[in-house]
Symmetry: C2
Subunit: 319 residues, 2 copies
């Protein structure tokens, strides 16, 4: 290896910027949200909204082109719930971007609409770049608001405030803020043997292997979460941890924290409840999976997934 | 500088391990929590619990010694709410550690008890090491459970499951999991001028300066959150971001993500709503604040705070 994995700087451009959903250049102006944020934004020419029926993002389509951005008047027949609209931010052009839940059921949608979700939006390459990042922000906030229509402390109705970034109970005044769930996802690397550790969950597509992952728990550092999850799922002991990249993951509102982990043991013992298989792979096998040229038909998560980034950057660094 | 800040490996030991609340060696065995977890743990000899009256941690004291760990029988008079007890994990000795909310009011506590909170526990050096980390895990989980006694979707009562790590609505079956809020905290460094950027909030103790910080928002990478918060609070443009350390922060359940940020501009414009002051500091000034020897009386956050770690490591790296 030319570079030592745990002693080098990250490659450029920033690895996080190469993940799906990460491009989002909206000016959120988070310090100045207030009760007029949504109305003010809606009154500006060029304001456009993402519309959600439950967890489904609505797309307009005219046969050829799919468009996720609605002008306010285009929502008229869809029963928009303005009390729970969210201001995402402003584009450089000054155009506001918002999101709004609609009352119409996906089953009753007219033929000029299509309903999709964040995973399909990315996996089917329906959109790329900034629009994908804006949609991710929208999906996470709409979902958080809809999961918190009632106060968790007293069960009374809550109301949306400051453009969808705060909810206050109408009775006990308990205040809550948007939720983001940190998840560690790690490529465990055995540097002495030149191998990386990949596993597959029971629900993965056939032949797909990926990095191990799990939620950061209350009272844990990122490094301790990486070591705990790796140990629990594979029985592999890890030492040094190196942060590599992060990715917004709007299913529904996670923050993926991608790390390399130094393997300190070699014998895998799989947690059957979590994983169907877990094995060591050579760089050649890993590259073939990334490039979809593996003879066995094994694959990796696609480009844009942070696991893909961790796997590919590990290989590129060794060249 | 001997080492380049953005191209070096982290110093050892792991910076995260040097922060307060980070030491926690409990075996959480997160994959195997079930409906019997709490009862099973309570039946084991040596089981001890943290007890919370609202957000206050209870301590036993006999004049000299403060003790935060209760045996089950010691909780008899305090109205423990066993339905909302939490299993934290097992010590290496096999002793279970749990946490439980109690019904007794802080105002009605007998004289052999003292009520405290996580901040005081750390700042007043009441406890250190693993017990502080275990208490942090306990405080975050007890608070999350008590904030979610009712379902956010339908307002019906929810019930605790699998040892306090899942709540399910008794009517609509909506399921939720413990919440951890990622926060970015960053030392912005101007390498050309050899200066770092520190600010003070309106609520800080007189003379205390610290790193800028803010919640990661839905749909953001860690790096974008660092750049956005820095720009919003100080108008300083930042380029490359380097992760340094993380820290569990149980007020009530945050994950502090500590980064260095490369300054690309020099003129500060303070956001008055957020900050009272924000300035560039030399390493000498910063070190004097860390060591409490600054002639002006300015100080930094104390040892154990991740901001203290970011500031001190920046200086140590330059030596």
């Amino acid at each position: 290896m030319t570079l030592k994995l745990f002693e080098t700087s990250a490659p450029h451009p920033e690895p996080s910027s190469l993940t799906a959903f990460a491009e989002n250049a909206l000016d959120r102006d988070s310090e100045h949200r207030d009760e007029t944020s949504v109305a003010k934004a809606l009154s500006i020419d060029g304001a456009h909204l993402f519309a959600f029926a439950g967890e489904k993002l609505l797309l307009k389509h005219d046969g050829q082109i799919l468009d996720p951005l609605f002008a306010k008047y285009e929502l008229a027949g869809l029963e928009p719930d303005w009390d729970n609209a969210v201001l995402l931010g402003y584009r450089k052009s000054g155009e506001p971007r918002l999101a709004v839940p609609v009352g119409v059921s996906v089953d009753d949608l007219a033929s000029q609409y299509k309903a999709t979700d964040m995973r399909a939006l990315w996996r089917e390459h329906l959109f790329e770049g900034e629009i994908l990042g804006e949609a991710a922000q929208a999906a996470s906030l709409i979902r958080w608001n809809s999961d918190n229509l009632f106060c968790g402390r007293c069960g009374s109705p809550s109301e949306s405030h400051i453009g969808g970034y705060k909810r206050i109970c109408t009775v006990c005044q308990h205040m809550i803020f948007p939720r983001t769930d940190p998840v560690v996802i790690m490529l465990v690397v055995d540097e002495a043997r030149g191998l990386c550790l990949l596993g597959r969950s029971h629900h993965f597509a056939p032949g797909m292997y990926s990095c191990l992952a799990g939620f950061v728990e209350p009272g844990e550092t990122i490094e301790n979460a990486v070591r705990r999850e790796t140990l629990e799922e594979s029985a592999i002991v890890t030492g040094r941890i190196r942060y590599h990249a992060s990715q917004p993951w709007p299913m529904p509102h996670s923050l993926m924290i991608g790390c390399y982990a130094e393997a300190k043991s070699t014998d895998i013992r799989i947690d059957d409840a979590e994983l169907e298989d877990c094995r060591w792979f050579t760089p050649e096998e890993t590259l073939a999976m990334l490039d979809r040229t593996d003879a066995s038909g094994n694959t990796s998560p696609p480009k844009g997934a942070i696991a893909h980034r961790l796997m590919r950057d590990w290989i590129e660094w060794q060249r």
